[in-house]
Symmetry: C2
Subunit: 233 residues, 2 copies
């Protein structure tokens, strides 16, 4: 269903992947801004965990906007696509903004274990098309986040908590994100997300009435206000 | 200077035209939303005058966002590019949103002459690379807007009032726009724009520090607030 909607937007909907990713990543950044606004007196460091596919691409776009708005994003992007022109460009845009990058998992852990150095973690590792098994180093990363969640900063997941199944939710491990930003439409697994203290946003406000009807999200789309690109559900 | 900045963003800056146009058009729509918010009791019709090039493309993107936010855009887009895939896609996105189109200049005039039917006119005809002479039907359109401006709705110009020279300002005719949305950086001619009752916005918030320095717009870029994509100058 989720992949059908994306396919439909790009084929009959005539959107390009550059366009969709820019709007999706901007929504992610705006939801973060709303929920975790930058502060003057404490760290605005955001650890961006970037996966190899489209979910990672949304994270790259979000990193750029966050940087421009006063955050200090730090990338962990261990499996870069060398062929995909779009991801290469999005990375270059971040280099030009002097967004630093962490090269290995040990550095990620040591950053997260320094007290109060990271404001939030953004999980843009895997999206709705994820199927196990998890490749390394992502398997170890997700296990680490899952085991240590009580001592870690809040985790914000893009579209789907990484490692979850799009329909069934958590499979083996749960990274325990506290915020989820659903893109275009909430995926079925988002029903498993809502617990006390967790927040859910919807972003990616660009579908037409016919598509909203077809995917039965007309009521959700009506929740957006004014010219806002996101809405807290 | 202006074309250099655009070129630099797309070459060494590694932005795609899809990306830049999406961000530019979104800024245009948000500035319109801020200055002319949609009303419940009167017309929200926006006449979108769309030119054949990139300025027109920004107008197409803006039309889509405005439609989603509750306006009723009506397109006048007489010289469509048949080869450019991006413009074709942006047009298709508007068709899917059922944005109506006016086919000829007589219809434009008759729409504008119906009392209170149009809230504002958006001028996305020509941008910074415009050189005279003006091709038809744009010459007649600009002359019409210029002669009748006192009885017409407010005109919002994208980046440059159409028909103006990027450096010198008005050449023969002046369409008398009341609002200008400069994209990325104000063009030299914007100095001729400011008069009583006119407003000036800046949008296209995506350049890095080095580029801002090089084009001497560091102080302007600092005016943006929070996560906003536009600022009223």
């Amino acid at each position: 269903m989720a992949s059908q909607l994306d396919q439909e937007l790009m084929s009959t909907g005539a959107f390009s992947i550059d366009q969709l990713m820019e709007l999706a990543g901007l929504s992610v950044a705006q939801a973060i801004y709303k929920q975790y606004p930058p502060a003057t007196a404490s760290s605005n460091k955001v650890l961006m965990l970037v996966g190899p596919g489209n979910n990672g691409g949304d994270g790259l776009v979000a990193s750029r906007h966050l940087k421009i708005w006063g955050y200090d994003p730090v990338l962990y992007y261990p499996k870069k696509s060398t062929k995909n022109e779009l991801y290469k460009n999005l990375s270059k845009q971040l280099q030009d903004l002097e967004v630093p990058e962490i090269e290995n998992l040990e550095e990620v852990k040591s950053l997260l274990e320094s007290p109060k150095s990271v404001k939030i973690i953004v999980d843009s590792l895997f999206g709705f098309s994820f199927k196990p098994p998890i490749r390394e180093p992502f398997g170890e990363l997700i296990k680490y986040l899952s085991i240590n969640h009580s001592s870690l900063p809040d985790i914000v997941s893009v579209d789907i908590p990484s490692g979850w199944d799009v329909d069934k939710g958590p499979i083996d491990v749960d990274i325990n994100s506290t915020m989820l930003i659903s893109l275009t439409a909430p995926k079925p697994c988002s029903e498993h997300f809502l617990k006390e203290g967790r927040v859910h946003y919807l972003g990616g406000r660009f579908i037409n009435q016919k598509i909203a009807q077809k995917y039965d999200i007309e009521d959700l789309v009506k929740l957006y206000k004014g010219d806002e690109l996101i809405v807290k559900l």
